[in-house]
């Protein structure tokens, strides 16, 4: 693979410690750890995604001329596996007799399915001849308490927007590309201190075109925010905070209502389903009253029913991950309207000559194709060729599905 095809995030992974931005304090601490080794045998790099934990380790290995032995989340890390792979690595010298660093990447990923993985890791730390670096997003979880005692802890902070902006600019320069300042500012801001996601977004912006990217980014954010809203409404305990939940969003309440409607059945069943729909139904009644009477205080009740009402449908809150669906009804209605365009125009022509409203004429939907499947009537109504085809097709379908042919006389 040539350099060109590498994703930006790999292509520009920092090679030297001094190139790492925004983590000066942490780097200081890490250097101290290595000087003092083996007073503490392992080092935990704790920090949010994309703050440079892995990059720091790689750069460090290079700088100290150490071989890097890496195990990450994609490897199975149960007791047997660690014993088989990690243990020998910590005891034997490396191939070229260099020193080495053992990197236990993404320790959060050691899960219940990695049976005995953590205790084995601790055992390995006690015996290792080489420094071990463990990276984690949240080392303060209960399951890591023993591990924490055995290790020195260094925290990496989220990068500042300005630091990320600087990184993005330098990458753009090396890539010989230009992009609107506004766009990279948006990317930097949106990354919330995560360099990796910022670089990935930059790559996306370069490949799909920035305008498209920005609007997509906006959609993604909107979706993220509605997902979070729905999770709170459906799964958090019903308390006072819930009532105000829709105040913090820029989304239209009507749109939120559609999302809630679509996803109630994904979260609730039985009695809870019933209660939630009852609340939604009443919220909708208030919505109608607001529109008709322009009395906006009803909004309070609408929002209450849509938040606390839905939330209180059950006391047994689930904590499962729900893949919320985007509202499909409006789209379906729109598509069906497209399909029904001919039917509509026919009904319009028919209603004009029969002293009826279109709405009333619609009631004869079923009989109309049969009645109108007649050349004289079609001439009279000024039915065009396409409409005629539609009528014929419809009438045929009705005759077949209702079994009307048997009434026909030969």
């Amino acid at each position: 693979m040539t350099n060109k095809q590498l994703p930006l995030i790999e292509k520009y992974r920092v090679k030297r410690l001094e190139d790492i931005k925004g983590q000066d304090l942490a780097i200081q601490d890490i250097k101290t750890f290595f000087k003092a080794f083996p007073r503490k045998k392992a080092l935990i790099l704790n920090g949010p995604a994309g703050t440079g934990k892995t990059s720091v380790t790689i750069a460090l290995a290079k700088e100290l001329n150490l071989e890097l032995f890496e195990l990450n989340a994609s490897d199975l890390r149960n007791r047997a596996k660690l014993e088989e792979i990690l243990k020998p690595a910590t005891l034997q010298s490396s191939l070229f007799n260099k020193g080495k660093i053992i990197l236990m990447d993404e320790a959060d990923g050691i899960t219940a399915s990695d049976r005995g993985g953590l205790p084995e890791l601790i055992a390995v730390i006690e015996k290792t001849h080489f420094p071990i670096i463990i990276t984690a997003n949240d080392i303060w979880q209960q399951k890591f308490s023993l591990l924490r005692q055995k290790c020195q802890l260094v925290n990496l902070k989220e990068l500042k927007d300005s630091t990320i902006l600087e990184i993005l600019k330098s990458v753009l320069q090396k890539e010989n590309k230009t992009i609107k300042l506004e766009t990279i500012q948006t990317i930097a801001k949106k990354s919330r201190g995560d360099v990796r996601s910022a670089l990935n977004d930059l790559e996306a912006a370069l490949s799909v075109g920035e305008d498209e990217f920005i609007s997509e980014l906006y959609e993604r954010e909107k979706e993220e925010s509605i997902f979070n809203l729905l999770k709170v409404v459906f799964q958090a305990p019903t308390d006072k905070k819930i009532i105000d939940i829709y105040n913090s969003t820029e989304m239209q309440i009507d749109e939120i209502m559609l999302w809630v409607e679509e996803n109630i059945p994904k979260e609730y069943s039985g009695k809870a389903l019933y209660k939630a729909f009852e609340s939604l139904s009443k919220a909708d009644v208030f919505k109608g009253r607001i529109y008709r009477q322009q009395y906006w205080r009803f909004l309070v009740y609408q929002n209450f029913l849509l938040s606390a009402g839905i939330s209180s449908a059950t006391k047994l809150k689930s904590n499962k991950f729900t893949q919320y669906l985007r509202p499909s009804r409006i789209l379906k209605i729109w598509m069906s309207n497209q399909k029904n365009a001919k039917k509509k125009s026919i009904i319009e022509k028919y209603s004009q000559q029969t002293h009826m409203s279109k709405k009333k004429a619609q009631k004869y939907n079923f009989f109309l194709p049969l009645i109108l499947n007649n050349t004289n009537i079609q001439k009279q109504l000024d039915i065009d060729e396409k409409e005629q085809e539609y009528i014929q097709e419809k009438a045929g379908a009705i005759i077949v599905s209702a079994g009307l042919n048997r009434f026909r006389e030969n």
Binding site: Y274, F277, R289, R329, S336, Q353, K360, Y364, F366, I371
Partner: protein, 321 residues
């Protein structure tokens, strides 16, 4: 044009007072009013297909003879969006003088009960402003939905549901002129289905005649049952079995495919409840709930949300709750 229409509801629409079936008392009064060449504003209230539009048309034809089209404006409250358009059309129409001897024109506002309260308030002013040049005939299904001040400006006529003999008479005339074979039992079946709505009977008859000139009872019944949104039963059965998502999907399909209005769906649901295999007490509860949901819909809520809420009640009922 309508005089030689091929659409039977128009072809057989009565052209003279004496051709109208039923509503004898109303006809007598309206004849007298028309003869005086000075009709008041009128409100025709009554069920669908009982002759309201027909009578309005006869009145203008009597008043204006061959010039009736120039002196007559037909507006439909449920099709015209907003009172502003109604007002504009009324203004444009009333601006010019009537043709002929009659000193005013006639505006027929059909389905006036579809107007909101605000629109009716506005209409009240419009009626007053144009009294010198225009007379209004309003039609509605329920006079209770028309504001009192409007009712008090009109002579109110209450149309009755057509009786069996009235409908029978109409069917026989059509059968004779169109060379249809039809027996008394079939006429009975047509009447049973009609709920006194003559338009429905004639449309059903013409649809049947498009299949065969021999209108058998079986043909009529086959058409009637095929015309019902039959899938409603399946929707309810899904809901009772606890499969809300399937029920909802099917409901949307029924509503969109045949563009059935929510209020028609709920009518079918209400009729279907007694045929369900559930406890009678639950049937009562569900019917009450259906009524409540229909009320919310009529009040102007989102049909689909309300129907889903109703389906959720059926899910509960399926669990015996």
């Amino acid at each position: 044009m309508e005089e030689n229409s091929n659409i039977w509801t128009e072809k057989y629409r009565p052209k003279k007072f004496e051709e109208v079936v039923g509503q004898e008392d109303i006809i007598k009064k309206v004849i007298n009013l028309t003869k005086s060449l000075n009709i008041p504003h009128m409100l025709f209230a009554g069920p669908a297909g009982t002759g309201k539009s027909t009578l309005a048309l006869i009145v203008v034809k009597e008043l204006y003879g061959i010039h009736w089209k120039e002196n007559y404006l037909e507006l439909n409250a449920s099709d015209e969006r907003g009172i502003d358009i109604v007002r504009q059309k009324v203004k444009d129409f009333a601006r010019t003088k009537p043709l002929g001897n009659t000193p005013f024109k006639v505006i027929f506002l059909d389905e006036a009960d579809a107007l909101t309260r605000e629109a009716q308030q506005a209409l009240r002013r419009t009626m007053e402003n144009f009294t010198s040049t225009c007379r209004f005939i309003l039609s509605c299904n329920y006079s209770s939905k028309i504001l009192d001040p409007i009712q008090s400006r009109c002579v109110v006529f209450r149309f009755k549901m057509l009786e069996k003999k009235d409908i029978e008479k109409r069917i026989k005339i059509i059968a004779e002129r169109e060379n249809l074979q039809i027996d008394p039992k079939t006429i009975e079946a047509l009447y049973e289905d009609s709920e006194g709505d003559c338009r429905r009977v004639i449309n059903l008859l013409q649809a049947a005649a498009s299949i065969s000139p021999t209108i058998s009872e079986e043909l009529i019944n086959t058409l009637i049952s095929a015309a019902k949104p039959g899938d409603i039963k399946i929707v309810l059965e899904y809901a009772l079995s606890g499969d809300f998502l399937k029920a909802k999907e099917k409901l949307l399909e029924v509503m969109l495919k045949e563009s059935v209005a929510g209020t028609d769906i709920i009518k079918s649901i209400q009729k279907e409840i007694w045929n369900l295999q559930i406890d009678n007490e639950l049937k009562v509860k569900l019917t009450e709930k259906t009524g409540e949901i229909e009320f919310r819909m009529v009040e102007g809520s989102d049909e689909f949300i309300q129907l889903q809420a109703l389906l959720a009640s059926f899910v509960m009922a399926g669990r015996g709750m």
